[in-house]
Subunit: 350 residues, 4 copies
C-alpha cells in the first residue's frame, strides 16, 4: 500500500481528494494537514465524511517533515505560492509530489511572475515538473516525481481543442473559449459578496474578460505544444449559479475539407485508449450534470456550415476531472496502477 | 385611458405582461384570454397577483371579436403560428397589435417557413409589420400598427453588437454569440425532462449548436440592416440553472485603430437617449441579477489586445426586456406615451 | 410630498425599501446613508437600480442631523443597537421614525437585554414605540411617532396564529412554529461559510433550535396580547436554499367543536378589511413563490382530525412583508395615506 | 458473487441503485429492466454512468422470467401496485426480493387499500414481508426473503423518534413531524408544473397537509411497534428547492425528568452498533448537505425547557438512506455480508 498525504485538506479540492482517496483500493491516506482544522477530525470540515475512516483522521498542522516521514506521495492543495516552497523539501526527501496549485504549471518563471504577480522561488523545478494532463502527456506523467495538476477551465478547454489542433483541422488564431464554472471553483475561503448565496443565486456573469485570466497562458502553453506552433485564445470565464461543473464552449475556424463527421472522428481517434473522455453522439448536448461527481469529460462537436466554425463543447466536474480526480489519475500513472483505480463508477444523478 | 388586451395570458410572457400592465399609469388592462384558465381569475394562473385588480380579472376563451370589441391595443402572447391568423382580423378592426411570438419577425416568408417549419399564411403583413427593437427602430415603431416583438436572445445580442457594426468597428464575419438563458425562456408548457427541477438544477448545457436555432436569422436580419451589408453569426444558446435572465457574451474581431475607450464610447454614443440601455464602467462585469425584473439591458465591453478581439457582454431579463417589458416599451412608443411609462423603478435585489 | 430618508440603505432591507419608496406615489426619497457606500450612487450597491432616479441618489455617511434637516420620516435599517441611539435624536427633532431593527420590538428592556445581550439605552421609548404589525395594531400605528417594524419570522407566524388565539380556537400551550427562511434573511454582511453559495445550495438546516432564537419573545408578546393570556411557542427557524421567502408551518391543538370550515372562517373574518392577507381556498398549498416581491401574506389552514391538530401555513416575502414592505405599509398608516400606496401590483412570477 | 437485477431502473431510485450496486464488492449487477429505455444502455438514461460497466448494461423489457433466470436477488423499483404482482412470481422461483415501492410496507391490506386507493392483490405476502429499516428490524431482515423498503420521509422521521419512544421519554400523543424533501422525491416521471425548474426554484411549500400523506400509516406502524402502544403523528411534507435531501424536524412533549443530556444519551445508546446513524454533538445543526450521496442519517436533539418540548432533527439523502442505499443495506443483511458493503466512503461536499 502506497501511503499518501494531503497538505491543505480543508479546501474543496483537498476535501474531494480525501473523498476519492478514501475509497482508493491500492493506496492509504495517512496524513492530513489543515491550518484551520488542525487538531480536529476531517469530518469537522466535511460532515459528509462522518462515520467513515477518512472522516476520523485528525488534521495536523502543515508540518512537512511529518508528512514526509509518514507518506510516500504528497498532494499539495494549498494557495498559489505555497507549493514552490514545499515541493523542493519533499522531493529532496525522495517523495513524489502532486501539486494542485498553479505553481508548477507554466514552464517559464517569467510567465509565472507576470500572471501570478509574485516571483517564482523554485524555477529549477519548472524544468522537471510534468504537466499532469494524462490525455496529452501520459508517458511523461508515468516517469514524473513532481506533477503540476492542471487548472479546471484549462482541462475542459484543452481536451476540447487539442485533437483539432493535433489534426490541423482548425486555425490557430481566433480561437474563442467561453467557459462557465460553478461557484465551488472559487474555493472555500473567499468571502466576497459575489460568492454568497443571495448574490450568486439567479445570477450569471463573467469575470476576467479581455485576456486577463491566469488560465490563459496555461491553455496556450499546452495547445501550442500540441499544435507545434504558437496558439492564442480569447478566453472568458463565467460564474454560473451552480455548485459544481464546468462547461467550456469552444469556437474555432474549421480548415477546408473537414466536416461534422471528420471532426467527430478526430475527437474519437485522439481519445482512443483514454478512459475518462467520452465523445458524445452527433447532436448530443452534454450537460455538467452528466459528469457531476465523476472524473469524466464529455465532448460534443458541431460544425456550423453557414459560418465555417466548429463548436466543441466540453463538460467536467471542476472538483474531480478539474482538480482532485485528475490528481488521483496522475497518481495512478505515477505509481503504475490502473489509470482508473479509485475513480470507477461514474457520477451521481440527479 | 387606452384599453389593452392580452391573448394567451397564462404563459410566462403573458403573465409578465399582466404584471407590468397592471401598474401602467396610462392604459387599462381590460381583456385576458387563456385556454387553460378560461373562466378563472388571473390569480389562479399567477398566485402572486392574488389580491390585486389584475389578479381578479377573469380569463376568457380566445375570442378575438370580444377582444376587439373591448380593447384598443392587443398583445398576442401565443405559440408561433397563432398570430398570423389573429393579427389580420384585429388589424382589420383598426386595432393596434403587438405580437410576442415569432410570426412577424422575419421579413421573408421563405425564411419563416425554412426556420419555423410551417408556411406563413399572412405574408403581406410582413411588409407592414415593424420590428420592435426600440433602440434600433424607434421611429418606425411610433408609426406602426403591428409590432413584431423581438426574441429574447436576439435582444441581448443585437444590443451588444449593433453599435459596433454601425460604427464599422468590427468585422462582419466571424462574430460569435455565446448566449445563456434561464429556464423560463422555454416557456410554461413544455414538459421535457430537461426543464424539471431535478434535471435542470446544477446543470449547464447547450441546446441548438451549430447554426440551428431560430433566433439566428432574426439576429442576422437586424445586424445586417445596421451594418448595411450581410452579417453572419455563430450563435450558441445555453440553458443555465436559473429562472430568469440572459447573458450574451459576444465576440468579434476589432478593426484596426480601435481601443477599449473608443469601443466603450461607441456604445455610449449609440444608446444616448435610449433610457433602457446602461453602458457599464470599464472593468465591470454585468450580472443577470443586475437586471432581474427590470426592462434594462446592461452592456460592458473589453478588448483583448493579445488576440485583437472585442468582447461585449449583455444582460437582460428574458421575460422583461426580452419579452413583456419590451412589448410595453413598444406600446408606449405606438401610443405616444413616455417610453418608460409603467417600466420605471428598476429591478429587485437580491 | 412627504420626504423620507433611509439610514443604512446598503443592506437587503434598506435596498428593498429604496426599491419600494422609489415608486411610491405620495412620498419622496430624499436622503440615503450607508457607511460602506458613502459617496457613491445607490446603484453602486444595487445595480438593479441603475438608470433610475433612486439609483442615482448618492449615499452619505450616517449623519442624523442631515437626515433630520431634509426628511420628515426616517427609516432606520441598521444593525440591532443602533436605532436606540438614533431614534431619540430624530424624535426630538419632531420626526417620525420607523425602525427595521429589533431595538423597539420588545416592551420590556430586561427582555431586550436578555435576548439581545446588550442593555437597552432608551428604555423610555419602549413605552411610546408602537409595534408595527398593521393586521393586529392598525389604529395605534396611525397615531405613532416611532414604529418597531416586526421581525420576518414573527410576521409570518403571528399572522397565522393570531386569529385562532383571538377566537379561542386553539390551546395556548404546545404551539409549534416550524419556520423556513431564504438566505437573504441573514442580511448582506455576514460572511459565514453557511451563507456562501456552495454551502447553502442543496442544503436545508435548522439554526437556533430549542427556544434560543430572538424572535421567540416577540412572537409570544404579540400572541399573548391577542390571546389575553400568556402564550408560549416552540419555534424552530430553518435555512432553505432560496434567496427570498418565509414559510411558517404552525401547529396547535384545536379546541373542541371547531372544524376546517370554522377555522377558515375565523381566518377570513379576522383579516376582513386587511388588504395584504389572503386566506387561500381549502386544500391550497401556498408557496413562497406566491408572494415573491409582494407585500402579501397567504394563509391556508387544515385540521388533522386524526390528531386534533390544526395546521396553518403562512408565506411571506421576508424582505417585503417581513421587512421593507411592512415598513412602507406602516408609513402609509402613519401618514394617513391609503394603506396600499406604493405596494400595489402583486409579485413576480416565476 | 450474488447476482442482482433491478426492475424499473430508469427512475431516480433505480438509477441510484445502479450507481451503488456498480461499485458493490460482493454482488454483480446482471439484469436491468426499463420500459422507457428498453434496448438502450443504462447510460442513455443516466449519462453520468457513461464509460462505466454499469452504464453499458442494456436495459430490457420488464420480463420477470428473464430476471429470475439470471439473478438471485431482485430489486423492484416500480410504481406502487406493480410489486404485488411481481413479487409472488419471483419468490415462487426462490428469489430474494427487495421492493422499493410501498406495496409491502403496511401490514394491513385494508390500510393499504385505504391509503393507496387500490386493493392489495397479494395480502398473504404482507405476513412474511419484512419491513426494511435495519436500525429497528435488523434481525428479521437477515432472515427475510421479501423486504419492504421504507419510505423516504418515514426513514428520516422514524430514526428520530424511535429511540425516544423506546425509552418512554416522550408522550405518544401530540407528535409533530415537519418534513422537507428535495424535488427528486417526486420521482422522475411526474410532469406537474410544480416540479419544473421555473416553478420549483425559489419556492417552498407544503403538500399533503392535515393527515393526508401516505407515509403517515407507515410511520405510525413502526413507531407503534417500538412504543408498544398506538402512536399518532401529525405529519406535514414540504417541497424544498433542492434536488436531494430530507430534513425532518420532529417535535414531542418530553416526559418528566429528562434533559438534553439524557435525550442525547438515549439516541446514542439506541444506535450503538448501527453504522449509518450519527448522533451529532449538542448544539449541532445537521444539514441535508451533510448526507448528500451517503447512506447516513444524522440526528441532533434539543430540549426547549421553556415549553417542555424536545426537538429532534434528522437528515438523510432521500435517494440513498431514503431509498436505494437502504435497499443495499438490506441486501447486505439478507446475504450475510457486512452491513456497510458498497456503502462506504461517505458523501460528497459541496
Amino acid at each position: 500500500m502506497v501511503k499518501t498525504a494531503i497538505i491543505g485538506v480543508s479546501g474543496y479540492a483537498g476535501g474531494e481528494l480525501a473523498r476519492l482517496l478514501a475509497r482508493h483500493p491500492e493506496t492509504e491516506l495517512t496524513f492530513l494537514s489543515s491550518e484551520s482544522n488542525a487538531g480536529k477530525p476531517l469530518a469537522a470540515a466535511f460532515p459528509g465524511l462522518s462515520g467513515t475512516r477518512a472522516g476520523s483522521l485528525v488534521c495536523e498542522h502543515g508540518d512537512l517533515s511529518r508528512a514526509s516521514a509518514i507518506a510516500d506521495l504528497i498532494f499539495l492543495a494549498q494557495e498559489n505560492g505555497a507549493a514552490m516552497k514545499s515541493a523542493p523539501v519533499l522531493l529532496a526527501d525522495g517523495k513524489k509530489v502532486i501539486d494542485i496549485s498553479a505553481d508548477f504549471r507554466l514552464r517559464s518563471p517569467d510567465a509565472y511572475s507576470t500572471w501570478y504577480k509574485m516571483p517564482h522561488t523554485a524555477p529549477r523545478l519548472l524544468e522537471s515538473a510534468v504537466y499532469g494532463l494524462p490525455e496529452t502527456n501520459r508517458d511523461a506523467i508515468r516517469r514524473a516525481s513532481l506533477i503540476a495538476n492542471p487548472g479546471c477551465h484549462v482541462t475542459a478547454a484543452t481536451l476540447a481543442l487539442a485533437p483539432l489542433l493535433a489534426h490541423r483541422m482548425i486555425e490557430t488564431r481566433g480561437i474563442i473559449i467561453d467557459s462557465k464554472t460553478g461557484v465551488s471553483g472559487a474555493g472555500r475561503t473567499k468571502t466576497d459578496l459575489i460568492y454568497r448565496f443571495s448574490e450568486a443565486n439567479e445570477s450569471m456573469k463573467t469575470y476576467g474578460v479581455g485576456g486577463t485570466h491566469r488560465h490563459i497562458p496555461e491553455i496556450e502553453q499546452t495547445l501550442g505544444q500540441v499544435a507545434g506552433e504558437p496558439v492564442t485564445v480569447t478566453f472568458t470565464p463565467h460564474l454560473a449559479p451552480m455548485t459544481r461543473g464546468i462547461l467550456a464552449t469552444c469556437y474555432a475556424r474549421l480548415a477546408d475539407g473537414f466536416t461534422d463527421a471528420t471532426v467527430r472522428a478526430a475527437l474519437t481517434d485522439y481519445f482512443a485508449g483514454h478512459p475518462f473522455v467520452i465523445v458524445r453522439e452527433a447532436g448530443d448536448s452534454p450537460s455538467t450534470k452528466d459528469v457531476a461527481g465523476s472524473n469524466f469529460c464529455h465532448l460534443a462537436s458541431a460544425v456550423d456550415r453557414r459560418t465555417g466554425m466548429v463548436i466543441v463543447t466540453s463538460v467536467i466536474d471542476n472538483l474531480v476531472k478539474g482538480a482532485a480526480g485528475q490528481a488521483v489519475q496522475n497518481m495512478n500513472l505515477m505509481l503504475g496502477l490502473p489509470e482508473t483505480a479509485g475513480l470507477e463508477g461514474g457520477g451521481w444523478w440527479p
